[in-house]
């Protein structure tokens, strides 16, 4: 009886030791991968996931089209009228924006600085709430000439992040607002230089000297030649006793809802 119990205890200890060794080995391998910033499973995982994400997008579109067949004529007519009115309203904005953009390009041309950008439209496959990392997955990758570091823009003019990893048909986008990411920016009409720190969910914080003139709703742009909107100042927090004041600003794009982004694959500055 005692011999049996002793043997059982020995087996249990051996099993615990094996599990502990496995755990240490596993953690060691993960630690090595992390130190060298490699992930050998990324390529395969993205290939598998991309197929499923794209199938889902396609299925959703088909289901939406199918659903339209069951809508009443009246609701379709009303929606048509509503969309037509929205189109008319947007057209005025588009005309004035086009004029401003043209003027901007002419002025740059006069100063002898032309920038030619090429952009690729990418569909969002996975939004930031799916993971702990506050990243986006889009359906354009190396085959579409996307490179690490390319800027990513949403809704035409709002810079939201940069490409952090590129795979064959997909890319990962890290937001400038991801916690801890620091970005060089200019604030307001006087282009006050500063370094913004991301706080997650498209929010940023920056500290500037107390006597710097900044107001709420001032536009924040990236330290880049082209004037794409980075964020808008929401709150200015300061005390006359403090040497610095804190600015809180956010990017107006709702990254939890966007479906399309543009990747600026190259911005060639010609002097």
């Amino acid at each position: 009886m005692k011999t049996i119990l002793r043997a059982q205890r020995k087996r249990a200890r051996k099993s615990t030791l094996q599990k502990a060794l496995f755990a240490i080995l596993f953690l060691g391998i993960i630690g090595l991968f992390n130190v060298f910033q490699i992930n050998p499973f990324s390529g395969v995982s993205h290939s598998v996931a991309a197929v499923i994400w794209q199938a889902k997008e396609g299925t959703q579109r088909e289901l939406n089209d199918f659903y339209q067949l069951f809508r009443s004529k009246q609701s379709l007519v009303e929606e048509n009228r509503r969309l037509e009115q929205r189109l008319v309203d947007q057209e005025y904005l588009w005309i004035s924006e086009r004029a401003l953009r043209q003027e901007n390009e002419e002025l740059k041309g006069m100063l002898g600085r032309d920038i030619e950008e090429s952009t690729i439209l990418g569909s969002v496959l996975s939004r930031p709430d799916t993971s702990l990392y506050d990243t986006l997955i889009i359906d354009v990758g190396a085959e579409d000439n996307v490179h690490v570091g390319d800027q990513v823009v949403a809704l035409g003019d709002f810079v939201i992040g940069f490409v952090s990893k590129v795979f064959r048909n997909t890319s990962q986008v890290t937001f400038y607002s991801s916690p801890g990411v620091k970005t060089n920016i200019f604030i307001g009409e006087e282009n006050i230089p500063a370094t913004a720190e991301g706080r997650g969910a498209n929010n940023f914080v920056v500290q500037v000297p107390r006597d710097v003139e900044v107001e709420e709703n001032d536009i924040v742009t990236l330290a880049h030649f082209d004037t794409q909107v980075f964020a808008v100042v929401d709150t200015v927090i300061g005390d006359s006793a403090d040497a610095f004041k804190t600015l809180l600003f956010s990017n107006p794009v709702n990254v939890f809802n966007i479906k399309w982004v543009q990747v600026i694959t190259s911005a060639e500055l010609t002097l």
């Binding site: 755990a23 992930n39 993971s131 506050d134 801890g180 990411v181």
Partner: protein
């Protein structure tokens, strides 16, 4: 592999791709409460392979899911040893 284990694994796969991260973790805890759940490490590696990026706020660690699931597995082993329900 029992049908319930297979179902939860399929759910985990879908969750990693589509559901919020906290739901993925809850499904992982469900797997651990009903089964051994070692395959959770695989799903952690899968999620980190898809989304992992070294952020300063996480001290440059890009294996957060894997480490979190590893801790959950260790905790589950410990808790199950102590609870009469699992003996």
């Amino acid at each position: 592999m029992t049908p319930s284990r297979i179902s939860i694994n399929i759910l985990l796969f879908i969750s990693v791709l589509y559901f919020p991260w906290w739901l993925t973790i809850l499904i992982g805890i469900l797997l651990l409460s009903l089964h051994n759940g070692v395959e959770l490490l695989f799903w952690g590696l899968f999620a980190d392979a898809l989304f992992g990026v070294p952020l300063e706020s996480f001290y440059g660690v890009q294996y957060l899911f894997t480490l979190l699931f590893f801790i959950l597995i260790v905790l589950a082993v410990y808790v199950k040893q102590k609870m009469i329900f699992y003996n």
